[in-house]
């Protein structure tokens, strides 16, 4: 009974804390979880050990809450993380029409549907179905990853070169965004190789090697863009109802569950990539389905990836949170699995209930104050986290990554290309020639 109470309390604390993180633009739950894990190590070193029934549900609460509530800054402050990038355009449209609240709530409904999908559909079948699936796919992961990379690069479309007489000028205009996308992918891939083999980050915190790069590639460019942009947000309407129905929800769960599930199951593939693949695979053209399915996809990706670590008999680690968790605890039994499912359900319910008040509060904040201040505040927190956790080495990596992360933003190509930081070195490693490339580069 006391264990159940611990789980309940820890889940609630984690979920409530995630509210603060979620409404700050560009602040990722993984940054905070990294700090939390380091804090846990510090406690352990002092002889203080927390029970898994405390920190596991707490982490679940953080992840579920953030996955659900991070939609608020994504839509209202235009500062999404890369997995929410597809919600930016339709989300911004909602915002500019004064329907930011509705857009946020529709995405939140998608998140809630994602929790249902995980708890009631994935949860009961995962221990039976996923281990054989993993066994079959294990040897094929590398070429699937290359297919995904090819798809990401080939589906970038030219943003210019549509008008005017033909010639080099038009050619370069058409290739400007495409070239920027390719350049971003390969520069970030190169950065990934450096970080994998010779990171300037101290070996004492090597588990956070990639964090400064992610902050630089995704978080800081958006903070900077928010700070320097001159967009004025129109007055927002708080609607009493949502323009959705059961059919739309089911279609969203189908598309988002597929994309998020794919991203959660395959190594290195993130929610943004999963969303891209699922969007093309299901070809849902309704804007509401699009927004809602991104809510499903994002939640299924982040929470599902963490949950996979707990699936008995599966034995795979996916996503940053699970990798950090492995340092603390190795789950093995159904006890852990059911505890995580319970925490996901509770955190999902609580975070959805907090969606409406937090969205209203954010809208009030936008209308009453200059919302760019929130970006400045978030930027300061991010810089502090990077410095405290990874030192000057991390700041250096973050600065370089920021330069790369700004390229797609300023040249109007996909920010998804920044994922080359993981996709390229890991795909090379999984294919068996990553070390050869690193050796050729003189990194090892």
């Amino acid at each position: 009974m006391s264990a159940a109470l611990s789980v309940l309390v820890a889940t609630l604390v984690g979920t409530v804390l995630s509210c603060v993180i979620s409404v700050l633009p560009a602040l990722h739950a993984y940054n905070v979880l990294g700090a939390f894990v380091m804090g846990m190590f510090a406690l352990t070193a002092r002889g203080i050990e927390l029970a898994p029934e405390v920190y596991l549900p707490f982490m679940v609460g953080m992840i579920v809450g953030w996955s659900m509530l991070n939609t608020i800054p994504s839509i209202l402050l235009g500062a999404p993380d890369e997995s929410a990038m597809f919600t930016v355009l339709p989300g911004q449209k909602y915002l500019m029409f004064g329907r930011g609240y509705e857009g946020t709530m529709v995405t939140g409904v998608g998140g809630l549907a994602g929790v249902f999908f995980l708890v009631f559909i994935v949860g009961p079948f995962a221990p039976k179905v996923l281990p054989p699936v993993q066994e079959v796919l294990r040897l094929h992961m590398h070429w699937i990853l290359w297919v995904i990379i090819t798809f990401i690069l080939m589906t970038e479309w030219p943003k210019g070169g549509n008008w005017g007489p033909g010639g080099w000028k038009k050619f370069f205009d058409a290739w400007r965004s495409l070239g920027a996308g390719l350049l971003t992918f390969f520069l970030s891939g190169f950065l990934g190789f450096i970080l994998l083999y010779r990171s300037p980050v101290s070996v004492d915190v090597a588990f956070q090697n990639i964090m400064p790069a992610f902050v630089g590639l995704f978080a800081i460019p958006w903070c900077l863009l928010n700070i320097i942009s001159g967009t004025r947000v129109p007055k927002q309407h708080i609607s009493k109802s949502l323009d959705i129905d059961g059919d739309l929800i089911l279609r969203s769960v189908g598309a988002g569950g597929l994309g998020g599930g794919f991203a959660a199951f395959f190594p290195v593939v993130t929610g943004g990539v999963g969303g891209l693949l699922a969007g093309h695979a299901t070809a849902q053209r309704d804007e509401r389905v699009f927004i809602m399915s991104q809510g499903v996809s994002k939640l299924v990706y982040y929470v599902g990836a963490f949950m996979l670590l707990f699936v008995p008999g599966l034995g795979i680690t996916r996503g940053g949170a699970a990798w950090m968790m492995r340092q603390l605890y190795m789950p093995r039994t159904y006890y852990d699995y059911y505890m995580i499912l319970a925490a996901i359900a509770i955190a999902g319910a609580v975070s959805f209930l907090m969606m409406s008040p937090l969205t209203r509060a954010t809208i009030w904040f936008i209308e009453k104050t200059n919302y760019r201040n929130a970006s400045v505040f978030a930027l300061a927190i991010i810089l502090a986290i990077v410095y405290v956790m990874t030192g000057w080495g991390g700041i250096l990596v973050m600065t370089v990554a920021t330069g790369i992360g700004l390229i797609p933003v300023l040249f109007a190509s996909r920010r998804l290309n920044c994922l080359g930081v993981l996709l390229l070195p890991i795909a090379c490693n999984m294919s068996g020639f990553g070390q050869d490339i690193a050796a050729w580069l003189g990194l090892i």
Partner: protein, 503 residues
Amino acid sequence: MNDALLPGQEDQPRETMCSSCGRFVGALTRCPYCGARVTTRLSVRFFRYAALLLGTVGLGLLYVMARTQQIPRIKIADVKPTMNFAYVQVAGTVSGDARTFKEGGRIRSLRFMVDDGTGEITVNAYRSQAQALADAGRLPRLGDEVIVAGSLSVTADGDVIMRLQVPEQLIIASAEMATTPLGDIGTDMVGTSVLVEGVIVEVNAPGPTSRAPWNLVVRDDTGRGQITFWKDVHEEMPDKLLLMKDNRIRARVSVMTYRDAIQLSLARAADLEFLDKRSSKPAVSKTAGPGAASGRGEDIGIADITQDMAGRAVRIKGRVKEINPPKEPKAPQEVIVEEGESTIAVVYWDTVAKNLRDNTPIVGSNISVEGTVGVYEGKLQLKVNHSRQIKLLDAVPTRTEAPGEPVKIAAVTKAMLKQVCTVTGTLGEPRSIRGGVVYPLSDDSGEIQLVLWDRRVPGADRDKLSAGTRVTVTAEVDEYRGALQLVPSNPQNIRMEKEAAAK
């Protein structure tokens, strides 16, 4: 100040107003009223190229920095969970011989332990890296001083593994070792690596189906030692033929215990060196291993084989005197070969027997056998490990099985498949099959099918046989659909009772 403004222009952005005289200037970059330059916002293009510059130059500098950065060397005791994925270097002593794990003939992974005095870490190398190390003969051995670099994997269970990414980042600095006298090796040296030198006293090869290791008993002036190694090590030996008694060897081995006895484990073939190559004469084989090619044994008379020759490969010629089927399921087949007054037992197991085909020994036939001299229960024997080592010298067309001592039908078992035996019994009612006739042959112990093929026992000879006739048959044991049968090779191998009695 704002007298030049039109209604509504108060809300215009500051960039549309002259910062010197405050008048509205619109998109102009110079004020038409006072001539001052108007401050303009920075173009997005500027930020674009600034970002490109930051990204590429910064990455270039980071790359140069990474290339010149030394891989940090750590103490194993200092490894913390937060060091997961760290690329580090460790210097220490190999505390366990490298073990390779193979899959489909290729090395799948390689594992060894390194101890730096503060703790122990497992180092793994996979596939191409492991194969490269093995191909280069750079597998670390117990006691080697190494410097190794790789990425760490630390789990919540406290398991710390280093993954070697580049073969060149394993530096083995093994010091020249002094030879350790065999008599000095005791339990206090268990877990260490030593260099021993001595003369082979005994070579014990495992049976063809055995999973046991090879054993060499070696002696020097101070004592004896037992060197063991597995079949894969034996297969890698380029000088298998030198594995024989009285040859002098030097070996780098790990000291271990097995059933409370000291054992010297040879981890790889390269660690064994033959100090004298006395057996390099091509006509004289010193082979002692399974699968050795035939025709390399030393020709010797049966009478000249002595117990001192145990472990040596020899080749004999003689006449098959007797064939003794296995008495137990796992026992070997025994063929007694005689030459003049001398005899020796040639022994081989099922795996050899099944592949002998036309070279299956026949009582009375002349035979050539190459094998390893051994002693079993005080008796000399010649151990055969490959079917190629037995050759029937009589031409096959004239192969008429001389009748051996008749055995009971019940004594004919599957262990005798492809062997020739002699049975006496009574024929039952024949039945025709395509290409021949089948007679049931029975005695008081049981019944067996006697298959007379047209091409081996023509119809004219079969006509002499009828149900109820008592015959003595010398035939090969065969199996069809799980049932044993006897298949004589010619009519002379079937003798009716009167005929048999006359002989």
